[in-house]
């Protein structure tokens, strides 16, 4: 991958640099909230990036990605509730359970294509939602408050805002680096090949569904990590966070930024969540603007923001 100087790369570099120096700005101005807000944005960006891996590169339209946010979060929450506070146990469990869930769901869902795939992933996520609602020991519908964030010995203190922010940012950059390595690996090229022409890849001798499934599990695991971060960020986990509209929002973030673009989900998430925050300051009726905006982006700006930036570059 040769690094080019063009508008989209400049914007991405500026955004990345901005995210790195944000705590400094927060410290200087005393504006703590901006740090809280961006911690949340970064976590959702990681979730959106994981969704982008299967949607943008793998051609798998998962309408149930919020389930992983919930599963990763509940793994942390339930272990904390049972007195196991160590992040060295909580986080690997969160990742493992997410991966396992993705493996089972993926193995079943990948037997279907197109809109059936959208619907079956949705159905499984709704099932996860109802399971969480039925766990009365862990709060059921009311959710579970996490009184102590995951502890990592003396390594890092998650209750410290700046340290937690950098941990999340590190996870985001790490996740994106991983995705970049994947899509440029032989494995990633095969997955992308399957997206554009499954029959040909099958004919060459690649077992399409096996490749898809591995990709699906990687995506779910990364999203599970985002779930563990989110639970630590909100000190709280509830089934409401796994409802199907949350899955829809994750898709919107990916498409706003530009599907199949490495940094698109990050830009899209920043755009979506900031716009929501900003509009809700001006008017209670923010969805009146957000809804049609989404429609317009789908109709006229297929590539999302990154696509627009690319177009600007060429024109």
């Amino acid at each position: 991958m040769k690094l080019q100087i063009n508008t989209s790369n400049v914007v991405v570099a500026l955004v990345a640099a901005g995210l790195v120096v944000l705590p400094l700005y927060s410290q200087l101005t005393g504006n703590i909230f901006i740090l809280t807000l961006f911690t949340r944005i970064i976590i959702f960006a990681l979730a959106a990036a994981s969704l982008n891996l299967i949607m943008g590169y793998g051609g798998m339209m998962s309408f149930g990605h919020a389930a992983y946010l919930g599963i990763g979060g509940y793994a942390v929450g339930i272990l904390a509730h049972e007195g196991i506070g160590s992040g060295f146990i909580q986080w690997p469990v969160a990742l493992a359970v997410s991966a396992l869930y993705a493996l089972v769901i993926g193995a079943l869902s990948l037997r279907t294509r197109g809109v059936y795939f959208i619907m079956i992933t949705l159905a499984f996520a709704q099932m996860a939602y109802y399971i969480a609602s039925g766990m009365s020991r862990y709060g059921g519908d009311d959710g579970l408050t996490i009184y102590k964030r995951s502890s990592f010995g003396g390594l890092i203190d998650l209750s410290n805002r700046v340290q937690f922010y950098y941990l999340c940012l590190g996870c985001l950059f790490g996740g994106i680096y991983l995705i970049w390595r994947i899509i440029n690996s032989r494995f990633g090229l095969v997955v992308q090949g399957i997206r554009s022409n499954e029959q040909r890849m099958q004919a060459i001798g690649y077992h399409a569904n096996r490749y898809r499934l591995v990709c699906f599990v990687i995506s779910g695991t990364i999203c599970g990590l985002a779930g563990a971060l989110l639970a630590n960020n909100t000190d709280f986990i509830s089934p409401a966070g796994m409802y199907w509209t949350r899955s829809g929002e994750l898709m919107v973030m990916v498409v706003f930024g530009g599907m199949g673009s490495l940094f698109g989900p990050v830009i899209g998430t920043i755009f979506f969540l900031l716009l929501e925050e900003l509009l809700s300051q001006f008017t209670e009726y923010w969805a009146l603007i957000m809804g049609p905006l989404l429609l317009l982006i789908v109709l006229f700006a297929r590539g999302g923001i990154m696509g627009l930036l690319g177009r600007f570059n060429r024109g």
Partner: protein, 304 residues
């Protein structure tokens, strides 16, 4: 006795779901269009009916006006925005119509306020009637069953016995072909979308007196309708009909008898918590099984 009544409850719920699913499966089957905003049209039907009934003072008149209004709204929506999404990726359609859900919810809040509306029934529909000796059933729920069965029969006749129905069936199995035959496909699509919208509106206004007229009322039930058309086979009215009754029965009978069944194996407290969650899961479980075993649904529309 209890079983008869609970089965009627299940049938009534299933038929209501059919009204919603029929429009969805028509639009899905013919235009290959995933319309998440179908639930919003369902909501608009209920709001229109409540408003028109209050204006005219007549339930029947209000209902008829509301049906016309949702039909027009559907046609307008198709004309302005949605027709540009035919032939697009399903993902695009899902996202664009997800945006419409956001829009409609806030538009309704702006116009009618956040509190929701009431759609009162005329007195003759509020009494329970004796259907078999000793079993009373609410007259209005009975009327839902009758209306929905009539609509199902009418749809069957229209789709199977008329020229437009022939085109619809042709469109569902081969879209390009009827275009090639010189049929005004744009007009056909607009009409079908309007019909689907009116069916959604009918479902919304029929349930309004027993359930509610409120913002977001279409979202939960929309997902159920999707489950139904996937189980029944996309594009198949017959499949939607059978799957809807099936889902309605499972949901109602699950809620009615699952708690007692669970109490035999679990403690009472655990059973009463687990049962509602489990009975709502049953339907999704059923759909997952159907998709894994028969990805085309149980009664797929004939293809190509």
């Amino acid at each position: 006795m209890v079983l008869v009544e609970q089965s009627l409850n299940g049938l009534q719920f299933g038929l209501l779901l059919f009204l919603l699913a029929a429009g969805l499966t028509l639009v899905f089957g013919i235009m290959d269009f995933v319309n998440l905003a179908h639930g919003s049209l369902y909501m608009m039907g209920a709001y229109f009916a409540a408003t028109f009934t209050a204006w005219t003072g007549s339930f029947i008149l209000g209902v008829l006006l509301a049906l016309g209004a949702t039909l027009l709204l559907g046609i307008a929506l198709e004309f302005v925005a949605l027709r540009h999404l035919y032939g697009r990726d399903h993902l695009d359609q899902v996202l664009a119509t997800f945006g419409l859900i956001l829009f409609f919810n806030d538009a309704v809040r702006l116009i009618w306020g956040p509190a929701g509306l009431a759609l009162p029934l005329p007195a003759w529909l509020t009494v329970p009637v004796q259907i078999i000796p000793g079993v009373y059933y609410p007259a209005y729920r009975l009327s839902i069953i009758i209306v929905a069965l009539a609509v199902a029969a009418l749809l069957y006749v229209v789709v199977m016995r008329t020229r437009i129905g022939m085109l619809i069936r042709a469109g569902a199995s081969n879209r390009e072909m009827i275009g090639a035959l010189g049929i005004n496909i744009k007009l056909l699509f607009t009409l079908v979308f309007g019909l689907g919208a009116a069916l959604a509106g009918l479902a919304g206004l029929m349930q309004a007196p027993i359930l509610t007229v409120q913002i977001g009322m279409g979202e939960n039930i929309l997902i159920l309708a999707f489950v139904i058309i996937v189980i029944g086979g996309i594009g198949s009215i017959r499949g939607a009909f059978l799957a809807a009754i099936f889902v309605g029965m499972i949901d109602t009978l699950g809620r009615a008898f699952l708690p007692d069944l669970l109490r035999m194996v679990l403690s009472s407290a655990a059973a009463s918590t687990a049962a509602p969650a489990l009975s709502s899961m049953l339907i999704y479980l059923l759909m997952a099984i159907v998709l894994v075993v028969r990805p085309e649904g149980l009664f797929p529309a004939a293809k190509r």
